[in-house]
Symmetry: C2
Subunit: 610 residues, 2 copies
């Protein structure tokens, strides 16, 4: 409208540009062979691309896949040894052995070390006995359990008889393969009680069940014994010295699930963006007096709702591609620094991305008004199915604390002259340069060239993280003297969560800037640059109070950032169609009638019966 007239070239230019954005590395390569091939080289990039693609069609199916391969299959392969692989691998791969991952209990979710199910070794029969000692220890929410699972990897405290055979000693949480149902009749085996957990907010295509074990006997061989083993005569051996280290190693092997959830969440966000933006282009409402109505995407308010979201979707895409990449490298090299990096990043990116997607699905529904509320247009199902991504495989609030803890560990090691994980590298210099007083000259620079300079943007993100890290360390030290470690952590918890989010945002921005720099086509690069700038400046504006408070940004600059963010939203709106087309989601995948690329209203009417 009026705005467009001011910038008459914008549309022509950007239309050309954006034709070329299409398929920028977003296309999913076909899969030539089974998900798990025989040498256990999982080809993670392909696997996660499949997870993303399937989730876009049906999230329940994607989660069923994840339970079977990442959780059940992944626990057998990563926590077990050769004997388990030989016995189970092919049958898990072929779905002959559908299985579950039985970790969570009614009373214990996040606090896995608090679970109460016990596996007691019986040296006479060379077996473990699995027991649910009380109702709070009933395994709960176990995916695949209510209907399909024939096996479960059950997490339980390993109990060994003491030397004098008068008691047992607790060796900590281990995983055990427990057959749940008869392979032929599919009846629950003796001592195993299974109930369906009932209707859920969403994801009802996944059969979550609750399991109680009463003296269930399994052979000693069913202990997944990579990190700890029991000999025929009841002796415990482990390459790792303490319960805590074994526990960390056990859980550490499960990061793949988080990488999958992050990828899948980005896929869901792409679908939601595509539907909301295509409809917002189609839908017209109000207009200047005596002129035709205008697309609702031409309203500044709609741009404000959807364009930073579109920018974030691109940002998350590149961040998860990077995450999959370092995860794959880690699986090949077993490099210890990479292990730490992948662990913290998968936790942080999973938490950050799934929280953002969950909020965005509500924004998209609302942005599409009444027609966004029709079930056929999918926002309801997407939101309800995706919602639990924030909770399972690690509650987001807990995961972000892992990121904060890791940052603090790195921070301390830095002072002791240690090395830093790759993604944390920036902290090395930041502690020196960023923590000096902000420069009173640059804090006033407000030109677009400066604000769109990746160096300014990245510096701003990293400055914030560095300050939050340093002040968190100081506060924790102060409070722990009086409150102890646990109390001090809790007293600083909101601060620590902000720190973790800030760090993850800066990693995401760094990867986005890299992607822009590496983009081979100059027109696509120019378009991506706009999107990246919007991501960066919108985030800075969202936390402008922090920047203002230390005069990192002067009042005039704060105003300029705000203004430029609105203008970038408008510019990105002009290539919004092409940016969503580049996600390459055909109508038979998006499915929402209001987002059909031709005859949207006609298909919608037909659905209702006209």
């Amino acid at each position: 409208m009026e705005q467009k007239k001011q910038n008459p070239k914008a549309e022509d230019e950007t239309q050309i540009v954006s034709r070329r954005i299409q398929r920028i590395s977003l296309h999913i390569t076909p899969i030539p062979r089974p998900l798990h091939d025989h040498d256990s080289n999982l080809e993670p990039a392909k696997y996660f691309a499949i997870v993303e693609a399937i989730g876009a069609v049906d999230i329940s199916l994607g989660i069923k896949l994840g339970v079977q391969y990442s959780l059940w299959g992944g626990s057998v392969i990563n926590l077990g040894t050769k004997k388990h692989k030989d016995k189970y691998f092919e049958k898990i791969d072929s779905l002959e052995y559908p299985g579950c991952f039985a970790m969570t209990e009614l009373h214990h979710g996040s606090n896995v070390q608090g679970i109460q199910t016990v596996a007691t070794f019986d040296p006479i029969t060379d077996e473990f006995t699995i027991n649910t000692p009380n109702d709070g220890a009933i395994k709960w929410w176990i995916g695949n359990a209510a209907v399909h699972g024939k096996f479960a990897s059950v997490f339980a405290k390993l109990m060994l008889p003491t030397h004098d055979a008068k008691g047992v000693s607790d060796m900590g949480v281990h995983a055990f393969i427990v057959p749940l149902r008869d392979l032929k009749t599919h009846q629950a085996l003796p001592g195993i009680e299974i109930h369906d957990c009932g209707h859920k907010v969403g994801l009802n295509g996944v059969d979550n069940g609750a399991l109680r074990f009463t003296s269930v006997r399994i052979p000693r061989d069913n202990l997944l014994n990579r990190f700890g083993d029991v000999s025929r005569d009841g002796k415990y051996t482990s390459s790792l010295p303490t319960i805590n280290k074994r526990f960390a190693a056990t859980l550490g092997e499960l990061v793949g699930g988080r990488v999958g959830l992050a990828s899948s969440s980005v896929g869901v966000l792409k679908i939601a963006n595509t539907i909301a933006i295509r409809y917002s282009l189609l839908r017209q409402q109000f207009g200047p007096p005596k002129q035709p109505e205008i697309s609702i995407l031409d309203y500044q308010s709609q741009q404000h709702k959807l364009m930073p979201m579109l920018a974030s979707t691109y940002a998350f895409h590149f961040a998860t591609v990077y995450l999959v990449d370092i995860y794959s490298q880690m699986k090949i090299t077993h490099n210890e620094q990479l292990v730490g990096d992948v662990h913290a990043l998968s936790a942080g990116i999973k938490a950050y991305v799934t929280s953002y997607t969950a909020k965005s699905l509500s924004v998209c529904r609302e942005a599409c008004g009444g027609h966004g509320y029709a079930a056929v247009n999918r926002f309801g199902t997407l939101r309800n199915d995706h919602d639990i991504f924030q909770t399972f495989e690690g509650d987001n609030t807990v995961l972000l604390q892992q990121v904060a803890a890791d940052l603090l560990k790195q921070y301390k090691e830095k002072f002791q002259g240690g090395t830093l994980a790759v993604t944390w590298n920036y902290l090395r210099e930041s502690m020196n340069t960023y923590l000096s007083q902000p420069n009173p000259v640059t804090s006033r620079w407000e030109g677009a060239e400066h604000l769109q300079d990746p160096k300014f943007q990245l510096d701003a993100f990293r400055y914030r993280t560095s300050r939050l890290l340093q002040s968190a360390a100081v506060r924790l030290r102060k409070h722990s003297k009086i409150l102890g470690g646990f109390g001090a952590w809790n007293r600083c918890l909101n601060h620590l969560l902000t720190l973790a989010e800030s760090h993850i945002e800066s990693v995401i921005l760094a990867k986005f800037i890299e992607a822009v720099e590496k983009c081979p086509d100059p027109n696509s690069q120019a378009a991506l640059k706009l999107v990246c700038d919007l991501y960066a400046l919108n985030r800075i504006w969202n936390d402008i109070g922090t920047y203002r408070n230390v005069d990192y940004v002067a009042p005039n600059k704060a105003k300029a950032i705000h203004k430029l963010t609105d203008y970038l939203s408008f510019q990105v709106r002009n290539i919004a169609k092409e940016l969503v087309d580049a996600f390459d989601l055909p109508d038979h995948v998006t499915r929402a009638p209001i987002a059909m690329q031709s005859e949207a209203y006609a298909q919608y009417k037909q659905y209702v019966g006209f």
Copy 2:
């Protein structure tokens, strides 16, 4: 935990205090007579209390009630005249005439003046003919239409034959009573095509239908003729001079629906708070080394999620009580200033409250982890059913613009020496006092006594609104020279939405402060004061960038506000149980097993089948 130890008295004191908070004006009085009594004195306070109470049990039922009484009944009573009341009132009241409110069309929701259904007067038969001229004009989302409705008040453009009888002239949107189904057989009448709109994200207890009219004839008397009438010989008469004024009067009569939605939304928020907080008190997870696990509500992060929300619920409660009160006064006095005030406030409070509740329902689900995802624990249904509150009876983004437009109108009138609506009164002084440079001395005051002074809080809220209002006026004037009115409005849209929200927040705070001051019991008053402070300071902190940017708040004060907000969350946590008990929602209304006041886990297990 540690925090409690520092403040050993807190719990004892607050327990006593909060016993007494119970039932502070939140109890719903029983209804002694029909909703609409014969002299059409609707007793709004009772009606809206019923709406809130029913919505807490089942939102669909609440909306069915609202469609029948507020929309269908309300349109007949408020847009019709005595003849309509005589003929329809009792049968609407007794449910013999279930009806619909047929305004929205497939292509037109917010832009009601753009609807295309036509009602053409036929002077030969003394009838109107109702027609759906194209598919975009199909009435869509009409509640009660798919299954139950026997009548509808249909909004259509009134077309009168011109003097020469060669054409028709468009008199603008009017409402008409159109019989939809045979009173005995319940079959759709000739010319009326009805389809079910299909499954929705939620609210599937409401039968939304789509309607097409093909030459449907109704008597001239079926025109709801309070604001415009047609005589036997086809002459149009109205007490109002223009189409726009008649349109405004017509829509103005429908504000009751918004008051109802705001009340109902607060009811939903109370339910969600109750479930989330009761579960957060019950649920324990992690704890200091070798000590028992602690309630998750003892985590600062959980307090951060839930305590400002609890404070907002109290704030919204008092605000909607006030809204109902001025609405009732308006219905009795027809005072013109009140009409304007109720119109803008009902739009603004409906928008603000329903957006907040929608977001909160997601926060509550997530805060309750996996068990929050069990359908039986209600967050899914509450969220899905409530979601559309943001859209129907006026899209929130559109409603906030009405608030902004009203503020700008008042602002202009002020400069012309006019009077201000009651709620807007503060703007009179604010333009003089608030818009001077912030006081460099008070901007540094950081003591708790100052920050908890209602004068500081209210001044801060009003200062922000005044600045936003003044700068919006300046920007609109500047841009409209180049872009025209429509373009300028759009260019400033985000600014205008922030202005509207800021104003509504300050009205809500003012009413909360009044409620605290009026609270008769000193202990309850002390508790409510904490809650009110948390509401106020949390909002100031959320927009700290704005305050910092003009140095209304100096860096040390910003820090102090942040710190005090966390501490107030902790203090409110210590009386959280009593604050939710005061909502007086018994277990058979909350229903979620995880929120049962005794044996929560046992009831939950039982639900699953153990």
